[in-house]
């Protein structure tokens, strides 16, 4: 499997200027704090909160558009809510994908995806991000965060991409990252809310 970039590298090359590393870390911390301060101005919502607005826009774009992918565009809190979520729709007739990012119930980004992304639509009855995160936390996420100073970096909903054995399954994948160790991936069945598997990468 191609190695995924989960946002933070697990290991840093030794001896590559610790001073520079410290400076970069300070900059990153400052950026994170600034981003956090900005994010706090907007209400954190579960993933389903923006679904109707995104779907309405997608139907205008293409009447056969279907949701194929969903990802948090800003940090997820402990309830599985985020100030901004990104929804990706694919139109078989146009052979194009279009993304909508919603914040406070309004579309703040609408853009065509430059890459080809002919993904199958996710199943309609997917559990919301809060329930998915709770299942992941219960199984392995909480322990990972505690032991490795980890955090939830990404929650994404997709169908078939990560589930090799059952490509029809719609799943949530919750990715925990840590500055000290490899990332933790927890896959949750989006229909039943059960954890299907976990892995490190």
């Amino acid at each position: 499997m191609t190695r995924l970039r989960a946002g933070l590298d697990a290991a840093c090359a030794p001896g590559v200027g610790r001073a520079l590393g410290g400076f970069a870390a300070a900059l990153a911390l400052g950026a994170l704090l600034a981003a956090g301060a900005l994010a706090r101005e907007h209400a954190a919502l579960a993933a389903r909160a923006g679904l109707e607005s995104a779907a309405a826009a997608a139907q205008v774009w293409a009447s056969d558009a279907a949701l194929v992918y969903l990802e948090n565009d800003e940090d997820v809190d402990e309830q599985g809510a985020a100030p901004r979520w990104g929804y990706l729709y694919f139109s078989p007739s146009l052979q194009k994908a279009r993304a909508y990012s919603l914040r406070d119930g309004a579309i703040v980004v609408a853009e065509d995806l430059e890459m080809k992304f002919e993904a199958p639509p996710v199943a309609a009855g997917w559990i919301d991000s809060g329930a998915a995160l709770a299942a992941a936390e219960e199984r392995a996420g909480r322990a990972f965060r505690r032991e490795h100073e980890g955090r939830v970096s990404t929650m994404l909903l997709t169908r078939g991409t990560f589930q090799v054995g059952d490509p029809d399954a719609t799943t949530w994948t919750i990715i925990y990252t840590s500055p000290r160790t490899a990332s933790l991936f927890v896959m949750v069945d989006a229909a039943r809310g059960t954890v299907l598997r976990t892995w490190r990468g």
């Binding site: 946002g7 109707e52 205008v60 703040v108 995806l113 890459m115």
Partner: protein, 291 residues
């Protein structure tokens, strides 16, 4: 207490109002008329700017974009050729099956009304008090038919007015005194451009208070910038930018009043205003179109 005739008159007015509201759902015909020459009360003025407004740039779907090679590889593995396809017919929406019944009811009601009308003509003079009783019975029947028609309109309203999708209609009114405008162009945010030539008849109509609809279509429910351009002698390549935020599942109207436009200011002199079309049938039979 209102007399029976007054009540019938009220019902008839209600029915007319219902029909008018139903007609208002027809898009193009009613919009131009409703926009009217006078500025609609409650319309919000929007600024036509010379420079395209800048927008906050936010990243989206970062994980997907960072790992595009992985996703592409996985999707390639998922692609399959279907071996078997079902040939069964899909279920028909039961509402559609019920519509012929509605149509038959309307036809039957029409026959009844025609019969009543013939009977009424045959009794133009009431020689005896018993004829008044018959008239009352006929009025009762008319009231009953009106109630049934009201119910049918309610069914259609429920099925179709709830399907309003996010749409935008752009109308032009007024005409500049200073120079001729040969066309008005609109460029939507997705790059689609519409150029509407203004004929001599339309120019004359605009001068006399008429309204010209230049666009009516679906738009995404989000903040977006439209480019408005004027064509003709002094307006060559002149354009302005209007920011709109059409709400979801509503019809937004944008009116471009050209009357105050001067060659010096160009398209930024357009007086633009926006409002929402609100046409729906109420339970009481009243109709409302606002503002």
């Amino acid at each position: 207490m209102p007399s029976r005739l007054e009540r019938h008159r009220g019902s008839a007015l209600r029915y007319c109002a219902l029909a008018a509201a139903a007609l208002a759902l027809l898009p193009a015909a009613s919009l131009a008329g409703r926009a009217g020459a006078a500025a609609p009360a409650g319309a919000t003025e929007v600024k036509v700017e010379r420079v395209r407004p800048r927008r906050e740039s936010l990243p989206t779907l970062r994980f997907l974009k960072d790992n595009r090679a992985f996703f592409r590889a996985r999707l390639d593995q998922l692609r399959e050729t279907p071996l078997e396809r079902r040939g069964g017919a899909a279920a028909i929406d039961p509402r559609f099956l019920a519509y012929p019944g509605l149509r038959d009811g309307i036809a039957a009601a029409g026959d009844s009304v025609a019969g009543l009308d013939e009977a009424r003509r045959a009794h133009e003079l009431f020689a005896r008090i018993n004829d008044l009783g018959r008239l009352e019975a006929q009025l009762d029947l008319l009231e009953h038919l009106l109630a049934e028609q009201d119910a049918r309109l309610g069914v259609l309203q429920h099925d179709f007015t709830g399907l309003q999708r996010t749409a935008l209609a752009i109308v032009v009114s007024g005409y500049p005194r200073a120079a001729e405008v040969s066309s008005v162009s609109i460029t939507l945010e997705d790059g689609a451009a519409i150029a509407v030539p203004i004929s001599a008849e339309q120019r004359d109509a605009l001068r006399r208070g008429g309204v010209l609809q230049i666009f009516h279509g679906l738009v995404e429910p989000r903040s977006q910038v439209l480019e408005v351009g004027l064509g003709g002698g002094p307006w060559a390549a002149d354009s302005g930018f209007v920011t709109l935020e059409p709400p979801r599942d509503r019809l937004t109207l944008l009116r471009l009043d050209l009357s105050p436009v001067q060659p010096a200011a160009g398209a930024t002199g357009i007086l633009a205003s926006t409002w929402l079309q609100d046409a729906e049938l109420r339970g009481s039979g009243s109709s409302r179109t606002g503002p």
